[in-house]
Amino acid sequence: MRDRLDRWADPPLLVLASLAEEPRHGYAITQDIAETMGVRLSAGTLYAVISRLESRGLIEPLESNDRRRPYRLTAAGARELAEQSERMHQVSSVAQRRLRANYGWARA
């Protein structure tokens, strides 16, 4: 069995990162994540994540005239995203530094 090394692409973080730019509805979130982060979220995964994030108060729904209800990041969601992205940044910095030192290579 192949180990999955792309688990960093945690769907809740991807959704938070997408909503950090502007409020978006479900389809706009999937489009943004696919275009900017290269990950395709399925409908089931997306709405499981949206329900969980809303339940934890990290995102909130906005009023909508049609069925495409947009969501926006809350202050708690922004804090959570900042903490998690800082942690990911630390991992990334350490990995790149060590790759450069020991293998002479690191992606810019």
Binding site: S42, A43, G44, S51
Partner: protein, 317 residues
């Protein structure tokens, strides 16, 4: 393109309806329209429907807190777990009738096989624990609702609450009368064993009558459990009695699921080790019994787990 677009939209709509139908009602009410819109926008196909179906189970097992209030989740879980538990109890009764209660010398010899003997013991112990758990958690809540319904003069709710007593009593009276009318001479009855109501193996009633009684029995079990479930929805009780019932439902569901597992082991053991003429080699019986037990046990466990999780959350002041 203009021809394909409506067809795609129709397909997405059908897929969405089917997949969304698997979600809890509160989830569907909150997100259903959004998901349908997403499927229409993204030209959804089988992958999206499979993904939706896959995430339906966690939506039942770990319901989002903002979609339900805590007592509401406990009540809904109790109602669903109650019906699944009643179905498991009905399956257990069928198992007892077709396996444990058989008085033939072959059946008695098979019951001494270590695997079958242990399965019978585990089954008996688990059923006793399950019944005690239902009594410990269900009776206080039932009494509380009964008092509330009587004080508020709500005859429909009183009738719902009396279903677990009245419906089995009517079923037992009717089935005893039917067995008395259609009974055939017993081919073999062990004198010291109490004569069961419907003993298929000993030739008391024909297989079609037995099947009719089994189906009616399951209907009676569902109605008996649905009555208090309906009363829970209408009377909306809250407080320690509901919390106790939710915890007891967890124990009752786990014990009944264990009894179901033990009965499956015994049924497979009988199928494998019984002599050819012992009447345990009907493959279709296993093919019906196994999935029925697994499905009912799965629903009972998931619903009971939801109730326990809600019971463990702090009550909102």
């Amino acid at each position: 393109m203009s021809v394909r677009q409506p067809r795609q939209a129709r397909g997405a709509d059908v897929l969405a309806r089917v997949a969304l139908g698997l979600y809890p009602p509160a989830w569907r009410a909150r997100h259903g329209d959004e998901v349908r819109a997403l499927l229409e926008d993204s030209g959804a196909g089988v992958r999206a429907a499979v993904s939706l179906a896959w995430h339906a189970l966690p939506a039942w097992a770990w319901p989002a807190r903002h979609l339900h209030d805590r007592p509401g989740r406990m009540r809904a879980s109790l109602a669903t777990a109650g019906i699944a538990w009643a179905l498991l109890a009905g399956l257990a009764a069928v198992f007892v009738q077709l396996a444990q209660a058989q008085g033939s010398s072959q059946a008695l010899t098979l019951a001494r096989h270590p695997v079958i003997q242990w399965s019978y013991w585990v089954f008996d112990g688990a059923v006793i624990i399950a019944v005690l758990a239902v009594a410990a958690g269900g009776v206080p809540l039932w009494l509380r609702m009964f008092r509330d319904a009587r004080a508020a003069r709500r005859p429909r709710e009183l009738a719902c609450l009396l279903a677990p007593v009245a419906v089995p009593a009517v079923y037992l009276a009717a089935s005893t009368a039917i067995v008395g009318l259609v009974r055939q001479p017993a081919a073999r009855v062990v004198p010291w064993q109490p004569r069961p109501v419907a003993d298929l193996a000993n030739g008391m009633i024909g297989p079609w009558w037995f099947l009719a009684l089994v189906v009616a029995g399951f209907a009676a079990a569902v109605v008996s459990a649905a009555g208090p479930g309906l009363a829970l929805r209408r009377l909306r009780p809250d407080g320690p009695a509901v919390v106790l019932a939710a915890r007891a439902a967890g124990l009752a569901a786990a014990a009944m699921a264990l009894a179901g597992a033990a009965s499956i082991v015994a049924a497979v053991g009988l199928y494998r080790w019984a002599p050819a003429d012992a009447g345990y080699h009907e493959g279709w019986q296993l093919a019906v019994y196994l999935p029925a037990v697994l499905l009912a046990a799965g629903v009972a466990l998931v619903s009971a787990a939801r109730g326990i999780r809600a019971a463990r959350e702090p009550a909102v002041a």
